[in-house]
Structures are given as structure tokens and as C-alpha cells.
């Protein structure tokens, strides 16, 4: 498997940066003083027990959640609702959700076209782009179908194509396989594997450990709103017997993953 190594291709620079970021829901602290730097082209896996703040972390990157302290920058631009930079950030950031969130009244093709068309891409160009990415996720044959005619795995692939149609520089995945029936997880992970090979920056919240091991440059373990580990996969897996990781890996093993 050939894969671009971010540390050796020379263009590596901080692309996403968290500087002392904290977030509260009322009095409950979801993120506590997060510091994190992600290089362009890096593939990051975020994992940890539920409620650890991992979804919130990536939702802050494209402004779906606001945060109170510190600053997140994407490509040098601070993510800030108050400053009104969120629309500009979202032009660089694609996102895939746990529950796909396809638009039920649009076909797969229309789902992929609506974003580019809204960004004043011509209808024809948007269609070509949509068809290209639908073929990348092997959904060309289903382009004219509505979401309720597709399986969960197929819907999630369309959702990935929809995000890619906007040609983002970074892709966020929020537990993309955890709402899927087990037999459909593989097809979605395959597509994500191929995507990883293209060299796009990826931040992925997932519990699929073998997938993580295969594609991750770094794995981030979160608990209680803090980053406890931020290491390459080899290191994480070699230290699976220590500290907070023990419990988590036992739990994952229990589920047979």
C-alpha cells in the first residue's frame, strides 16, 4: 500500500490548530483546555468512551458547535461564530455524520449537487462532479434513487460523496459506521480507506480499531473532555495494557471488534 507520508513530503504545516479550547454545556465542561495541531494531509483517529467529548471536538472544527475559551484555526482562519467566519471555514471542511443525514426528498445525485449549485457552480459542472464522486464510492447505479430506497451502507457512501463534491481540504467523520448493520460496515470502511490514500486530511471519530491501525497517522484518545494520548497507532497499540486505555480496549474487545 503506497501512502503519502506527511512528514516527508515537505509541504507539511499546521492546518488545524486548537489552542487552549474549552467548551461548556451549561455548567458541564465538554472540552477542557484542548491543545492540538494537525498537519495538512494527516489522518487522525479520535477515540474514547462515549461522552468523552470526541464528537464535540470535531463538530467545533466546522462551527457546528461554538466554544467558549481558546481558539481553533483552520488554514489560519479562526473558527468563530461571532466573527462570522464559519461559512468560509465550511468551504474547506467536509463532514460525514453518524446518521448520514441525507435529504430524503432528493435523489442521491441531487443530494450531491445541491451544495455545489448553492456555491454557484453551474448545474452541468455540479452534475459531472456529483457523478464522478458517486462513481468513486461505487454508487453510480443508484444515482437516481431516493435515500429510503438505499441501505444504510449505501446511504453513508452517498453522504461521503456529497461531502467530497464540495472539494474540501479536510474531511470530518463523526462515527460514520456506528449506525450501520455489521454487514455494511465493510463497504463504508473500504471507501474511507481509498479516500485516505488520496492524501486528504481526515479526522475520524471511530471505534473501528483495525481500520484505525491501517490508516491513522496519529490516534487521539479522549476521556472526560481531555486528550489523554496522542500517539501514532503503533505506540497506542503497544500501550493498550496501560492506564485508561486498558478499560477501553477491553470494552472494544468485548464487542468483538
Amino acid at each position: 500500500m503506497t501512502r503519502a507520508d506527511p512528514s516527508s513530503d515537505g509541504k507539511a504545516k499546521a492546518f488545524i490548530r486548537f489552542q487552549g479550547v474549552s467548551k461548556r454545556f451549561g455548567s458541564f465542561k465538554v472540552l477542557k483546555d484542548i491543545h492540538l495541531t494537525i498537519q495538512s494531509g494527516e489522518r487522525i483517529i479520535v477515540f474514547g468512551p462515549s461522552g468523552s467529548g470526541k464528537s464535540t471536538l470535531i463538530r467545533c472544527v466546522n462551527g457546528l458547535e461554538d466554544y467558549q475559551d481558546g481558539v481553533i484555526t483552520v488554514g489560519g482562519v479562526p473558527v468563530s461564530r461571532a466573527l462570522g467566519t464559519v461559512p468560509q471555514i465550511r468551504r474547506k471542511v467536509g463532514m460525514v455524520f453518524q446518521h448520514f443525514n441525507l435529504f430524503p426528498h432528493m435523489t442521491a445525485l441531487e443530494n450531491c449537487m445541491v451544495g455545489p449549485v448553492a456555491r454557484s457552480v453551474t448545474e452541468k459542472e455540479a452534475r459531472n462532479r456529483a457523478l464522478e464522486f458517486l462513481s468513486r464510492v461505487r454508487m453510480t447505479d443508484h444515482a437516481a434513487k431516493y435515500p429510503n430506497e438505499l441501505s444504510g451502507g449505501q446511504q453513508q457512501r452517498v453522504a461521503i460523496a456529497r461531502a467530497l463534491c464540495l472539494q474540501p481540504q479536510v474531511m470530518l467523520f463523526d462515527e460514520p459506521t456506528s449506525a450501520l448493520d455489521p454487514e455494511m460496515v465493510g463497504e463504508v470502511l473500504n471507501v474511507m480507506n481509498e479516500l485516505a490514500d488520496t492524501g486528504i486530511t481526515m479526522i475520524c471519530v471511530t471505534h473501528e480499531m483495525s481500520f484505525a491501525r491501517r490508516i491513522a497517522d496519529r490516534m487521539i484518545f479522549m476521556e472526560g473532555g481531555k486528550i489523554l494520548y496522542d500517539e501514532p497507532p503503533e505506540v497506542i497499540f503497544s500501550r493498550r495494557g496501560e492506564g485508561r486505555l486498558v478499560e477501553f480496549f477491553e470494552h472494544v474487545a468485548d464487542r468483538g471488534l
Binding site: G20, G70, T73, G76, P78, R81, A82, L83, G84
Partner: protein, 386 residues
């Protein structure tokens, strides 16, 4: 703190806070502009006829009669008293219709789900027919039936002893009694209701002995009421005197038409709510009841109806609100409820702006009162945890 590098923040007019504030200010300014345009026109138009606004007119003497009412309003009383008579009439006809429509609606709703095909057919025919014909047409129809097709008092229809149907209204016998006996009856019925309510709320806690005591108390109250009526009451029968009846009590054709129209029309909607409530109780509940060995009737009474009631109460309460609002259609046949009073005042005194403000305020208060009651009921139910 943190650095953005060479990042330049967007100008202030691109920021959401500015945009939101601007949008809201624009809406407010726009509304104020429209409003001041209207007010400007209104004051110019009013100046031309040299009228001024003000509610002082409600103290002036009303030079009109209203036809009927239980507040004893007569021409010469204040306009305020006329409005009050209208409000009382609105509440009176609404209340009477609410009671009848509820009883009729529950009956039709249950018949609609009966296992008897004839009763299903009859009740669904009733519901469909009543729901698809405008209420005002039904009221006008009943009014026409009463005033055009019923005989004059001299040839009155008398389906049962002491009840006379005529084109001047319905006359019937009443029991008359001294005021002291009347108040005794009121006190006894309060006692009866209180014991029944106490029984209903404390059913879980008290044993069968306690309930027996309640029943004895309730029974004693009923016996006492009967005794009061039999010893002090006398029957006042309406009798023909000249062209009309004297004595007894009467209901005007207007009231009867509004009451019939509202009750029969609204019952169809309440029946649908009852039906939806009964269907809303899950089949599992019925199966569970059957597996406990309850008979059909017991299942209905003990398991289905109490739950169905909870589902149906909010929509039925909003039907009650509709009944009150729909009673305003009575203006079409000149039953002197609040809307009719308003039109009379406008034609006799003028002051349309103020009068419309008054009726809107009256209806809004009634609506708010009913929804407050409903919210309280919902909260109480929520607290019971069902």
C-alpha cells in the same frame, strides 16, 4: 493570548451579531412605519368626521333592547351593561352546547367503534354529514325550522305533558321553590360533588369500608335533595294566555337554534376525538386486559376508557374553545351574544374601533382562560405520571 498570524477578521457588517441586530431593527422599523401610516390615515379620517377615540361611551345610556338575557338588561342601562349581557349570553349558550356536545359526541364516538355495523354506519354518516356542512347553514336551518315550521302558540306541539314547541320558542314546566329551599339544594349538591370527588381521588388509598361510608353520605345527600324538592316545590305549568304562553319557563327560538346548531355540529368533531383516543390505546393494553380475564365491557370501562380520556382531553378542550368562538355565528340569527351586542352598539352608537377592540379582548380572555385550565390539567396529569 492566541495569535491569528496574518489573519484579517471580516469587517463588522459581515458579523452575525450585526446582521441579526440589523434584521430585527429593520423589521421593527418597517412595522412601525406601516403602523404609523395606518394611524396617520385613521386620525385624518376620524378628524374629517370629527370623532375622537375613547372608551367613555361605555358609560352612556344604551337606547336599544337586546331581546333576551339573564342579567336583566333593559334599554336605558349603560352600554357596559349591554356588553355584560352579551358576554353572559355567550357563556350561557356555549356552556349549554359544550355539555350537550360532549355527551352526544362521546356517544357517537363510541358507537362509531361498536361491533354493530348498523351503529357504525349511522354514526359515521352523522359525523361526515355534520362536519362537511357549514355551521352557519345548520344554525340558519334550525332557526328556519323553528320560526317557519313550528306552529303558533295556540296550536303548539306538545310531545310530552308540560312541554310546548312553538314558533315563538320552547315552553316547559318548571319546579318552583322558595329561595331558602333553592340554596339548600345548592349546598346539598356541593356536598354530593365533594364526596364523589373525594372518592375519585382517594380510591387507591382508602379501603372498601371508607368507600362504603362515602356512598352512604352521597345517598343521604340525594335523599335530602329529593325531600327538599318534594316538600317545598310546586310545579309551574305554562298556560296559553291570549296569543302566547304564560308561566313556566321558555327558551327563545334564537337560543334554541344556536344551541342545536353548535351542539350537533361540535358533537361530530368531539366524536372523532373520542374515537381517536380509543384507537390510540394500544392493542397490547387490550390484549393484556383480556389475558387477565376481563370481559369486553370491563376492559372498556377499566382499561381503555381511562387511557383514552387522557389522549382525548386536549383536543376536546380545544373543541370547547372552538364552541365558544363559534357561538359568535349566532349574530347571523340575532341571538344577543357578545358579537351581536357589538354590531348593535356599532350601528346605534358608532365607535367601531373601540367596539372591535372590546370584543377581541373579551374573546382573548376567554381563550386564555380555557388554555390556562387545559395547561393546568396537563400539568396535573403529568405529575400523576402516566
Amino acid at each position: 493570548m492566541t495569535t491569528f498570524g496574518d489573519y484579517q477578521a471580516p469587517p463588522f457588517w459581515r458579523r452575525p451579531f450585526f446582521r441579526r441586530s440589523a434584521a430585527q431593527i429593520a423589521v421593527v422599523v418597517g412595522l412601525l412605519a406601516v403602523l404609523s401610516f395606518f394611524i396617520g390615515n385613521a386620525s385624518a379620517n376620524l378628524a374629517k368626521t370629527s370623532t375622537t377615540l375613547g372608551f367613555g361611551f361605555i358609560w352612556s345610556r344604551a337606547s336599544f333592547e337586546l331581546g333576551e338575557g339573564i342579567t336583566g338588561f333593559v334599554a336605558g342601562d349603560s352600554v357596559l351593561a349591554a356588553f355584560w349581557a352579551g358576554i353572559v349570553n355567550t357563556l350561557l349558550v356555549s356552556l349549554a352546547s359544550i355539555v350537550t356536545a360532549t355527551v352526544l359526541g362521546i356517544a357517537v364516538g363510541i358507537l362509531r367503534l361498536s361491533s354493530n355495523p348498523l351503529s357504525r354506519l349511522l354514526s359515521s354518516g352523522y359525523i361526515e354529514l355534520m362536519r362537511n356542512i357549514p355551521l352557519i347553514l345548520q344554525m340558519l336551518f334550525w332557526y328556519a325550522v323553528i320560526t317557519r315550521s313550528l306552529p303558533t302558540p295556540r296550536k303548539a306541539l306538545s310531545p310530552i305533558e308540560g312541554l310546548y314547541l312553538t314558533n315563538r320558542g320552547v315552553y316547559f314546566s318548571v319546579i318552583q321553590m322558595p329561595p331558602s329551599a333553592f340554596w339548600a339544594l345548592v349546598a346539598l349538591s356541593v356536598l354530593l360533588l365533594a364526596t364523589l370527588a373525594a372518592r375519585a381521588t382517594s380510591r387507591e388509598r382508602t379501603g372498601s369500608l371508607g368507600r362504603l361510608g362515602d356512598f352512604r353520605l352521597a345517598g343521604a345527600a340525594v335523599v335530602a335533595m329529593l325531600a327538599v324538592v318534594l316538600t317545598t316545590g310546586s310545579v309551574d305549568v305554562p298556560e296559553i294566555a291570549g296569543l302566547n304562553f304564560k308561566g313556566g319557563a321558555s327558551i327563545t327560538p334564537e337560543f334554541t337554534a344556536v344551541f342545536l346548531g353548535l351542539s350537533i355540529f361540535s358533537a361530530a368533531f368531539i366524536a372523532e376525538n373520542v374515537r381517536a383516543g380509543i384507537l390510540g390505546v394500544s392493542a397490547g393494553q387490550k390484549e393484556a386486559a383480556a389475558s387477565l380475564g376481563l370481559r369486553d365491557g370491563q376492559t372498556m370501562r377499566l382499561v381503555v376508557l381511562p387511557q383514552a380520556l387522557k389522549i382525548s382531553v386536549p383536543p376536546i378542550a380545544s373543541q370547547y374553545l372552538d364552541i365558544v368562538k363559534n357561538s359568535s355565528l349566532a349574530v347571523a340569527i340575532a341571538y344577543p351574544e357578545i358579537m351581536r351586542v357589538a354590531t348593535v352598539v356599532i350601528s346605534e352608537v358608532g365607535r367601531s374601533i373601540e367596539v372591535i377592540a372590546i370584543i377581541m379582548a373579551v374573546y382573548l380572555s376567554i381563550s386564555l382562560a380555557i388554555s390556562a385550565l387545559m395547561n393546568a390539567y396537563n400539568k396535573a396529569n403529568l405529575a400523576k405520571g402516566t
